[in-house]
């Protein structure tokens, strides 16, 4: 039976975490009975760090006139992709910022050149970027998506969702697209045959009801389109961000910005698995939680370890860095008692690793 919003809010607030975890674990087992935990080998490529949005929770962006501003040239981009393929990678996660001078032709050009040169899946351009490109080019979202798809865009990451509640977005990222716009881009993308993931960044200034509102918005859209392949909750990392430097607002104590704790993370993760009964895959975020917590997450609703993240600039800019190889990930999954499998972007298993019982 489907959980309604009020029940979800009540569960999220007051159900014992271990009980919530047990229910999420059972829900995960029902969808993935084989005990396989997947991961993708990919590289996060940030084609630019220039961004007009200047989100207060972001430590990565630079203004166009900053000495640290960059746009990757083709040679560097290709080198990164070559390395990815050499390391067994099947996809690149291509994201950047809202650059004031890059329009549709830049993106279609970049996508075409990648596809000409390489056989690799391009998972790229989150909804804020797509809206920015559409506006820059004076085109509709639908036409823009169509053009990007034709040029080689295979799927869209769920970034920029943050919390799908405009009250929260007003504080966090006042210049970023509204919740309805994020959802509208995803809906059009799904209708155009472009699958996507969905994310949620929690642990900043939202309340419990905002988290449930977010889950509900994602579930409702998924009912209509079925285009989300996975849901990825991750926690706000306050290091080096404007929010952390200047506080949320005058008079709001700093402790309100303490990062979401592990207990909060598991609670959100478990609730995500339980509420999103129409999304098959829930990712553990080892990048923000570390490998040990990601292992624990596998018993609190998660069935996927996300990506090996050959390069991750954005979270690292906020002061979080866990150096991890594919082998570490395979071992971590095994040690948690699951069978590791490398997957493609659409969660098809492409390489199954031998399971090993957890040592002890």
């Amino acid at each position: 039976m489907r959980i309604d919003r009020d029940t979800a809010l009540q569960m999220f607030r007051s159900t014992d975490l271990l009980e919530l975890g047990r229910m999420a674990d059972e829900a995960r087992k029902a969808v993935h009975p084989g005990g396989v935990v997947t991961f993708v080998v990919d590289r996060n490529i940030n084609y630019t760090n220039v961004c007009l949005n200047r989100c207060r929770f972001c430590a990565f962006y630079r203004d166009p006139d900053s000495p640290e501003a960059y746009v990757l040239d083709e040679a560097r981009l290709f080198e990164k992709i070559r390395e990815t393929i050499r390391q067994g990678g099947t996809q690149i996660l291509l994201q950047g910022g809202l650059h004031p001078e890059l329009d549709l032709s830049f993106y279609t050009g970049m996508l075409r050149s990648i596809k000409r040169e390489f056989d690799i899946h391009v998972h790229g351009l989150s909804p804020p970027e797509i809206i920015h490109i559409a506006r820059k080019s004076g085109m509709t979202i639908g036409k823009t998506l169509q053009a990007l798809k034709e040029a080689g865009l295979d799927s869209i990451p769920g970034g920029g969702a943050e919390i799908l509640s405009d009250r929260v977005r007003e504080v966090l990222s006042p210049k970023k697209i509204r919740a309805s716009e994020w959802l509208a881009v995803m809906e059009e993308a799904h209708r155009a045959g472009i699958k996507s993931t969905a994310t949620m960044m929690f642990g900043s200034v939202e309340g419990d009801e905002d988290i449930i509102e977010h889950l509900d918005a994602v579930r409702t859209l998924q009912d209509r389109t079925g285009g989300f392949t996975a849901f990825i909750p991750w926690s706000f990392q306050p290091g080096n961000t404007e929010l952390a430097r200047e506080g949320i607002a005058p008079g709001v104590p700093d402790t309100a910005l303490a990062p979401a704790t592990a207990v909060d993370y598991l609670r959100v993760l478990a609730m995500s698995r339980l509420y999103l009964d129409n999304i098959r895959n829930i990712q553990a975020s080892w990048v923000t939680q570390g490998l040990k917590m990601a292992q624990v997450a596998l018993r609190f609703g998660a069935n996927d370890f996300g990506s090996t993240m050959i390069e991750e600039n954005v979270v690292r800019a906020a002061g979080v860095s866990h150096m991890v190889s594919s082998e570490d990930i395979v071992n971590a999954i095994r040690r948690a008692g699951f069978s590791p499998a490398q997957r493609d972007t659409f969660y098809n298993v492409i390489r199954l690793f031998r399971p090993k019982p957890p040592a002890a």
């Binding site: 975490l17 704790t261 592990a262 207990v263 917590m293 292992q295 018993r299 866990h322 008692g337 002890a360």
Partner: protein
């Protein structure tokens, strides 16, 4: 699936057998295990979760033992070897933030420092910082001090106590199981000797902690044996304060291998809480587990996360991925978010301040 009879037994505060302890380790139902351990913890400590404002001091990393799982020790003259004088240690202490209640002192088995150095160190610390408890010297060090001083164990311990020693840490227990211990740390004192040092300390009125290093070469049965031997000694003396399972760190050691999983860490905390029914406290040592996992461990039977820990060096030498100190505010925040009441304690678990 943990059987109902076993569940009821645990909830009725009946003692579990070694077979039952193994069943708990081998069971896959981590959520129920956590709930059972949490119920035991609540019976012992209510909603309280403890932390201490403390610092570490390692007088030397020069050690004649050179255990294969240790990345901290050096031989005399080797690059990176260090030894601190009493004055240098006092200076370090002066630099500590205010409010410190406990200093944790452990170091290598130095080949030629005399027993008097250790007595002088304790006396100097007590003289200068009378309000700070000194928790110092593992059983391995105490055994060594008794050998270099030519005194018996009791005399050694009583001399240390008279000079200012308040309590002893639980290190050096590693894993008691004979075969594994021989492969892990052949130079180290035997399990029997470790237990004897602690028994003697308890008889001398010195309270101690106990540890278990897990996740390297041992089996679940070895872990159970370890816990049961501690439980037995505690029945006899009642001198243990806290049990601290130590999660193995493979980096820079001769044994190598993998980190135990986060699930294994939680399981070990939980089974320890259930089996050690005569221990008041189970510590989720955040330096070893990371602050995230330590916090989760508070829901799996732990009631203590150790301290703010200024200057931890031993675990960091073996690839600890944690920071080297946690601020008091962070500590309080983590505990609160786990739904517990943060209690700042001293070395004897007396409440210094309840942060309700």
């Amino acid at each position: 699936m943990i059987e109902t009879a076993l569940k009821q037994k645990i909830l009725a505060a009946e003692r579990v057998s070694s077979e039952e302890a193994e069943v708990l380790f081998n069971d896959d139902d981590i959520h129920t295990l956590g709930e059972l351990a949490a119920a035991v913890a609540e019976r012992k400590n209510g909603r309280r979760a403890y932390f201490v404002l403390n610092r570490h001091v390692n007088p030397t990393n020069i050690c004649i033992n050179r255990c294969r799982f240790c990345a901290f020790s050096r031989s005399k003259g080797e690059e990176g070897a260090f030894e601190l004088s009493v004055d240098e240690i006092l200076e370090k202490m002066e630099d500590s933030p205010e409010g410190i209640r406990e200093v944790h002192i452990v170091g290598g088995l130095h080949p030629d420092r005399p027993f008097e150095y250790y007595l002088r160190l304790l006396q100097a610390l007590k003289g200068r910082f009378p309000g700070i408890h000194i928790k110092a010297f593992t059983a391995v060090e105490v055994d060594y001090l008794s050998r270099i001083s030519g005194l018996g164990l009791s005399e050694t311990l009583l001399s240390l106590k008279e000079s200012g020693l308040d309590a002893m840490p639980g290190g050096g227990a590693e894993i008691f199981a004979e075969g594994v211990r021989r492969r892990l740390c052949p130079e180290k004192i035997s399990a029997q000797r470790w237990l004897e040092v602690h028994r003697t300390a308890h008889l001398c009125g010195i309270r101690t902690n106990a540890t278990m290093l897990y996740g390297h070469l041992e089996s679940y049965a070895d872990r159970v044996e370890h816990l049961l031997r501690l439980r037995e000694l505690q029945d006899e003396t009642g001198g243990f304060q806290a049990f601290i399972p130590l999660s193995y760190h493979p980096r820079n050691t001769d044994i190598g291998g993998l980190y135990p999983s986060g699930l294994d860490d939680l399981k070990t905390i939980a089974v320890s809480r259930i089996v050690l029914d005569n221990f008041d406290h189970i510590k989720a040592y955040w330096i070893m587990l990371g602050e995230k996992l330590s916090q989760v461990a508070l829901l799996f039977g732990a009631d203590d996360v150790d301290g703010t820990v200024i200057e931890e060096r031993i675990t960091h030498a073996a690839g600890a991925m944690t920071g080297e100190g946690l601020a008091k505010d962070q500590m309080i925040h983590l505990i609160r978010r786990a739904g517990k009441t943060p209690v700042e304690r001293d070395a004897f678990y007396e409440a210094v301040k309840v942060h309700a």
